[in-house]
């Protein structure tokens, strides 16, 4: 790995700062904690707050700078991971009309959540851990958004995934929380295969992970540089990658279960930022999607299906956080469908707008009783169910059936266990049985001793 000369032009410095700030915060609170002398609560929130606020300001200035140049992409070359012949994996950041507005809003939101959580988590045993994860999340987010190559994007994507899963399992003494974290993590890992495969294909096709070699031009009017078949392949893989993080059908079951951590982390991750990571990757590579219309149709089908599923299931949820989770899922589905339709600026605005609104709603969710009473007082009575009057026109049996499906969340759990978990377990079990038989055959020993041997792990 080689690091080139550190960039010195002002815009590059600003872009790099957006990445360095959360890393510095991470180191600043992580290292003392590792040494067993965690910082005080006040110092922790100040450090993280300073990092995100300065990152936010740097992003705003960068936005002004690149806006003055018609949003032409500004590439910062940081170094090279490795190079073999024509093949190279470089570390590049790119500031353009997509990444900089995105950093502005994600860093700003992180700064707000930091301010909120500083008071919310006061005297909580996991205080430092929460802020370490928040800084890790901010690092991953900015790395993913500013990535100028698929490799850097993948690294950011992974930081995002691990910090999300750890925050779902924040209360690790509770079984539900750990189960939910494991479920989210597994879903992420399955779908990460898509992104990883996409990066392999991109490397294969262009000899590099750089987006410059994949498409050229100013976002959102870039042109794809790879052949249609490759573009379709990459697109499908990217769509698959997006399904997990954006909680699309059939990978949606983790999202409502993810509301196990502290409220501020639920707000920022599952209402606002994590859930839109998939949409961001697709927007980043929009020219590849453009080159492969079939991928667009796939995206529309999945997005619209998810939106419909989540809207129906969400309408029977009886707890605030599940209801908001399905509301987020509905919008995430719509956003993917919008991307599939070939729109670019609309989904970007939709992402940012939706994220801000949903964060506010989740942060305020403990006020639900208060808000409902205020509303009832204003209206002179509790608002009855009005939305689903159409549904009540259905025959009673059909309505009951649909209600059943909705209350069981579209049987997502059964689908996942029937489609993935049980086949996987069966495969592993039979592989285990096969190995035992094989060992027994090689060892020529009796049935009584073989189990002991295999459990000792020694074959000879």
């Amino acid at each position: 790995m080689t690091i080139t000369v550190f960039p010195t032009d002002p815009v590059s410095v600003l872009v790099v700062w957006q990445l360095v700030a959360p890393v510095a915060a991470l180191a600043g609170i992580g290292l003392p904690a590792l040494l067993g002398r965690p910082l005080s609560e006040r110092a922790t929130t100040r450090l993280v707050g300073t990092a995100f606020t300065t990152g936010f300001i740097a992003a705003l200035v960068t936005l002004a700078a690149i806006a003055s140049q018609d949003f032409a992409a500004h590439v910062v070359h940081l170094g090279r991971l490795f190079a073999v012949g024509h093949h190279a994996a470089t570390i590049e950041l790119v500031a353009d009309g997509l990444s900089v507005p995105y950093v502005c809003f994600s860093t700003g939101l992180c700064a707000l959540v930091n301010a909120f959580a500083g008071k919310y988590l006061h005297r909580e045993p996991g205080f430092t851990r929460f802020f370490i994860l928040l800084a890790l999340f901010g690092t991953g987010m900015n790395l993913m958004v500013l990535a100028g190559s698929i490799d850097v994007l993948f690294a950011g994507w992974e930081f995002l995934g691990i910090s999300s899963a750890l925050l779902i399992g924040f209360f690790h003494e509770r079984r539900n929380a750990v189960d939910a974290a494991l479920r989210a993590f597994t879903t992420y890992r399955i779908c990460d295969v898509g992104l990883f495969a996409a990066s392999v294909v991109i490397h294969q096709a262009t000899g590099s992970g750089d987006f410059e070699r994949l498409f050229t031009g100013t976002w959102p009017h870039a042109t794809c540089l790879v052949p249609v078949s490759t573009a379709l392949f990459i697109s499908v893989l990217l769509v698959f990658a997006a399904l997990g993080k954006s909680a699309q059908v059939p990978f949606s079951s983790w999202l409502p279960r993810a509301m196990e951590g502290p409220t501020p982390s639920s707000a920022i991750f599952y209402g606002a930022l994590s859930i839109h990571a998939g949409a961001y990757v697709l927007l980043r590579c929009e020219s590849v999607l453009d080159a492969a219309p079939a991928a667009g149709w796939l995206l529309i089908a999945i997005g619209a299906g998810t939106a419909l599923h989540a809207a129906i299931v969400g309408s029977v949820q009886t707890d605030l956080k599940s209801m908001l989770a399905y509301a987020s899922m509905t919008q995430a589905g719509l956003i993917l469908a919008e991307i599939g339709l070939g729109w670019r600026v609309v989904p970007l605005v939709h992402v940012i707008s939706h994220a801000i609104l949903r964060s506010l709603q989740i942060l305020r969710s403990p006020s639900a009783m208060h808000d409902r009473h205020e509303l009832a007082a204003a209206l002179g009575g509790h608002p009855g169910p009005s939305e689903w009057s159409l549904l009540r026109l259905l025959p009673r049996g059909v309505a009951r059936g649909l209600y059943h499906v909705a209350l069981e969340r579209g049987f997502d759990e059964s689908f996942v266990s029937a489609l993935f978990v049980r086949p996987l377990l069966a495969t592993l079990t039979s592989a285990d049985a096969l190995e035992r038989r094989w060992v027994a055959f090689l060892g020529g020993s009796s049935a009584d001793t073989r189990s002991r041997r295999s459990s000792n792990g020694s074959i000879q």
Partner: protein, 1020 residues
């Protein structure tokens, strides 16, 4: 099929008593979570309850040890409680007469021993040298005795001088060898444990990954939440009006979709139940039929049904308890009553349990190899019996572990190797047995008693010294009199008022001010009960706009309705599909304004919002529709308002209760309380307990209006209670979160009282500032030297901050309740730890007033105290755990995350500074009087004799204190001898508490006295 189920119904009713008494969270009333155990003595009840709920009976031992290290618990407390506890056995000889049981217990409490497994001891032996040194916390005489033992052998007279460590090592090693020898031969007993009843617990003990509750609970929670939902879901559950069982049978009996492997048979089973409902059978009978048949199929013998049902209900106690509450008190449902029935819940639960257990039995087949038995109908019965037989017994500690324990105990007792070797087997066993019998729970119990004793001694000593110091009578007519709630949080503002103005008198009475009513405010959509939870009001009071403002009010209402519709539509729409897409993409970014404002500038935002709200509503002058002239009943069975007789009775009752029947000042303020905080599902837990988790302002206002009514006064005068014409009552409400007081009907104060009121209002504002300053000492984020203005700002921000999980600390310091004249406690710094109830024994010839006072105060204060006690003792088992993952469900409660039991009790953020102590209730009355009164109050008497409340009589004539020490269920008072005669005297409250975050002992505050105390000789 249709045999009567009276026995079964009785069992279910008995089992349901173990469910938490908490109702919907929007009217949180603090109550004893162990109500089902109140027939038992406290110390026994907590242990039994801990077993049923898998909770902790006392704080962890480590917490008590910290308190011991901080001298919050002292050695003399431990000695005293031990002497009480052991009685004659205190001096029972142990170890061949070398020590006594009392000494053993005391040493174990003071220093503690480590219980280690054999493996851990083996590790200690090989990897560390701790066996070869003596403990460093030995008492000097034990230590010198141990060291001297070597001197005896080796003629080394000055053992300690030459090489102490070497000698110490020799003593310790020799002792260790002696302990090993003495324990090596005998075996510790194998204790067979009573196996659990529920199949789930039995299965889990066999296969640790097979938890049927983990299968059943998510499904059951979804079903019950959907049934009870008060309006979160846009699409309500079909057929809710027929009850839980019918609705679930309707929804889940369809043939749709794949289901979990375990729940496949469920739809068929539910279809049978559905058919029973379709035939028009009675819902309750169907449920009871299902329960009986499920219990039989689960194979539970009828003799065990009662306990089995209790354990099955308690397994999801929050939800089951909510079903029970809504069955018993449908009027407390926040929006609409649903036909909730515990039998429905139980039937569903057992049906799901059986289905999951059958599946688990299939899974278990190849693990336990009992599948050949799992063929006939008696499958589950066979499995139940088999698993109970196989339930693993608990083995006692191994011999190394016993030697290790004996080694520590011998050191604590100062027994050296030779002393141990002289014992015979029986003596060793007796010693070991005594140590084992004094287990963790027994130790924590005594720690708890000592913990309570230290507080009790401090408090009673302060009261005893106060007796001689209190002035005989106040001089002259007071400037003003203020009646507050008995709430412990009101103690500080009362003290502040008295410190600021020596000619102000304060009183305390239950904060509904004897006005039980359903109240509907001008901005409320329905009437809520404002009275203690045990009462059902018979009257409804409505707040109406004054006639001159009626048109204005209508206009504002319509504006408000339109805004509300818009806002409701927005929040509803943002969650729907198409409108949501449009709304979030177009308007979502606008949410950045409130998001930034509320998170970064909470106080400014709340100011702006509240001035907007003021504009929208508050400026409408209103009155209470209080007077009733007809006898008609409202649809809910209550009457609109009160008639003259009722009003006169209310006013008379309250004034008699607090002993204010003469010597009125020109201004009498009646001040209720409530609390405002944002983003806080438990907001109503901070409101007034005497108003059933509501706000007491309307009651204060109603009382003041009644007492000002000339017709009421005329009626009172004829009955002998004269309120002079120049006395004006004014109602107010204190916000315990912001410490501010809002006043009602000030426009009706007569002109010649304006100056009195104005000066009193200013005084109250000043006292509110001192109150805020005193409260701030508890908050880590506020420096100790915070000035008053800054303190007021701090508490106001807390009330308005979305992110603040500790807006105030509620009753988190409550520990005592003093029923008596304020004269006796005035000037005493009680640290907001005491409920103060005004009661004048001189005006209560027959004990009638004391009776009704104790009848109200006992349950309210006892309930609050025990709710806090248990929520602190076990924040997870009895409390609601940390607030951070709380998730409002169905508008009736909170869950942890997306699918947990309803969390009952108080959140940890509300009790983390609480000291769990049973209420110390001091009643200023002669012991015989109290005994007579309690005979007429069986419920309160039970709480006292079973020691859920510590009762002390304070004799009004002699000032002697007597502690109730019960034996055999009868009240018996034993005189209390103060431990110390002096109490610190300080110039002001602030000088005493400043610089401390924790609790501060009582002190006498000079400034609080109306006149100079007679006696200062006792001051230190």
């Amino acid at each position: 099929m249709h045999q009567p189920h009276t026995d079964l119904e009785r069992m279910i009713a008995a089992a349901a008593r173990f469910l938490p008494p908490q109702g919907p969270i929007d009217a949180f009333v603090a109550q004893n979570p162990l109500q089902g155990f109140e027939h038992l003595p406290f110390e026994e009840a907590v242990v039994r309850a801990a077993r049923l709920y898998s909770a902790q009976p006392f704080l962890p031992e480590s917490v008590y040890r910290e308190e011991l290290a901080k001298s919050r618990i002292r050695a003399i407390d431990l000695e005293a409680v031990l002497a009480d506890d052991l009685g004659d056995r205190d001096r029972a000889p142990l170890a061949g007469g070398q020590t006594t049981l009392g000494r053993l217990h005391l040493q174990l409490l003071l220093h503690g021993v480590r219980l280690e497994s054999d493996a851990a001891v083996r590790w200690t032996l090989t990897e560390s040298r701790s066996i070869e040194v003596l403990r460093d916390d030995l008492e000097p005489q034990a230590r010198s005795r141990l060291l001297a033992s070597v001197g005896r052998d080796s003629d080394d007279a000055s053992a300690g001088s030459c090489a102490p460590t070497a000698i110490e090592g020799r003593v310790a090693s020799e002792l260790w060898h002696a302990c090993v020898e003495m324990t090596a031969l005998s075996r510790s007993a194998v204790v067979s444990v009573q196996p659990p009843l529920r199949h789930r617990d039995l299965l889990l003990a066999s296969v640790s990954t097979l938890d049927t509750d983990a299968l059943v609970h998510p499904l059951l929670i979804r079903m019950v939440a959907a049934f009870l939902d008060q309006g979160v879901a846009a699409w309500p559950m079909p057929d809710r009006d027929q009850g839980l069982l019918a609705a679930v049978a309707g929804v889940y009996s369809g043939r749709l979709g794949p289901v979990q492997p375990w729940s496949r048979p469920l739809s068929g089973r539910l279809r049978h139940i559905r058919e029973a409902f379709d035939r028009g059978n009675d819902g309750k009978t169907i449920a009871l039929d299902v329960i009986a048949s499920e219990l039989r199929q689960l194979g539970v013998p009828e003799s065990a049904w009662q306990d089995f049902i209790a354990e099955s209900l308690v397994a999801l106690k929050g939800w089951a308890g909510m079903v029970r509450q809504l069955e018993e008190r449908p009027d407390r449902a926040p929006v609409e009553a649903v036909p909730a029935r515990v039998v429905d819940f139980l039937a569903l639960r057992l049906l799901l349990d059986r289905t999951a257990t059958e599946w688990a039995a299939g899974q278990l087949g190849h693990v336990l190899a009992i599948d050949d038995k799992l063929t006939d109908d008696a499958t589950l019965a066979a499995m139940w019996t088999e698993l109970r037989d196989r339930y693993p017994p608990r083995r006692g500690p191994g011999s190394l572990a016993r030697a290790f324990l004996l080694h520590q105990v011998s050191q604590l007792l100062g027994l050296a190797a030779d002393d141990i070797r002289t014992l015979n087997d029986n003596e060793i066993l007796a010693l070991e047995h005594a140590v084992a019998a004094f287990d963790s729970i027994a130790q924590r119990r005594l720690f708890h008693l000592a913990y309570e004793r230290r507080f009790r001694v401090e408090m009673l000593d302060a009261l005893a010294s106060q007796w001689s110091a209190a002035p005989a009578t106040a001089a002259g007519r007071p400037r003003a009199q203020a009646v507050f709630c008995i709430d412990d949080r009101c103690e500080s503002i009362r003290r502040a008022l008295e410190e600021l103005a020596s000619d102000v008198e304060t009183f305390g009475t239950a904060g509904f001010f004897a006005v039980p009513m359903y109240f509907r405010g001008i901005n409320d959509w329905h009437a809520v009960p404002l009275c203690p939870i045990v009462m059902r009001p018979g009257h409804t009071v409505t707040e109406l706009p004054e006639d001159r403002a009626a048109a204005d009010h209508r206009f504002r209402q319509s504006v408000r309705r339109s805004l509300g519709r818009l806002r409701g539509g927005m929040s509803e729409g943002s969650r729907s599909l198409l409108r949501g897409g449009l709304l979030t993409s177009v308007g979502g970014a606008l949410a950045a304004v409130p998001l930034v404002a509320q998170v970064v500038f909470p106080r400014l935002t709340s100011r702006v919002a509240s001035s907007a709200a003021d504009f929208a509503r508050r400026r409408i002058p209103t009155r209470l529709d209080l007077k009733r002239d007809n006898d008609a009943r409202l649809p809910d069975g209550t009457r609109q308002g009160f008639d003259l007789d009722e009003m006169a009775a209310i006013v008379r009752r309250l004034l008699e209760d607090i002993g204010l029947t003469a010597g009125f000042s020109r201004l009498v303020a009646i001040i209720g309380h409530g609390s405002t905080s944002l983003n806080n599902p438990h907001e109503s837990a901070y409101d007034c307990g005497a108003c059933g988790g509501g706000r007491g302002g309307p009651n204060a206002r109603a009382f003041a209006t009644m007492a000002n009514d000339p017709a009421v006064r005329a009626r009172l005068a004829t009955a002998g209670l004269t309120i002079p014409d120049d006395v004006v009552f004014v109602g107010g409400m204190q916000d315990t979160c912001t410490s501010g007081i809002a006043w009602f009907d000030t426009d009706r104060i007569p002109v010649h009282h304006h100056a009195d009121f104005e000066s009193f209002r200013r005084l109250c504002a000043e006292a509110g500032g001192l109150d805020a300053q005193e409260r701030c000492r508890r908050f880590d984020s506020v420096p100790f030297d915070v000035p008053v203005a800054e303190a007021v700002r701090c508490v106001e921000v807390r009330s308005a901050d979305l992110a603040q999980v500790r807006p105030e600390y509620g009753h988190a310091s409550n520990a005592a309740c003093i029923v008596g004249r304020r004269r006796l406690t005035r000037g005493l710094f009680l640290d907001r730890r005491s409920f103060l109830v005004s009661y004048d024994p001189d005006h209560d010839p027959d004990g009638g007033i004391l009776e009704r006072t104790l009848a109200a105060v006992g349950p309210v204060c006892g309930g609050i105290n025990l709710a806090y006690l248990f929520s602190r003792v076990d924040p997870l088992g009895y409390g609601a755990g940390t607030k951070l993952p709380h998730n409002i469900t169905a508008l009736i409660g909170v869950m942890d995350g997306h699918a947990s039991d309803l969390r009952t009790g108080l959140p940890f953020q509300g009790v983390d500074i609480h000291e769990p102590l049973r209420l110390l209730m001091v009643v200023e009355a002669a012991p015989e009087r109290i005994r007579d009164v309690l005979e007429r109050l069986p419920a309160v008497k039970n709480m006292v004799t079973k020691r859920w409340i510590q009762l002390v009589a304070w004799h009004p004539d002699t000032g002697g204190l007597a502690m109730q020490e019960t034996d055999a269920g009868e009240i018996a008072f034993v005189p209390y001898k103060p431990e110390s005669q002096s109490i610190p005297v300080v110039p002001s409250s602030a000088t005493w508490y400043r610089g401390h975050r924790g609790n501060v002992p009582p002190a006498r505050v000079d400034a609080g006295y109306p006149t100079a105390p007679r006696d200062r000789a006792t001051s230190s």
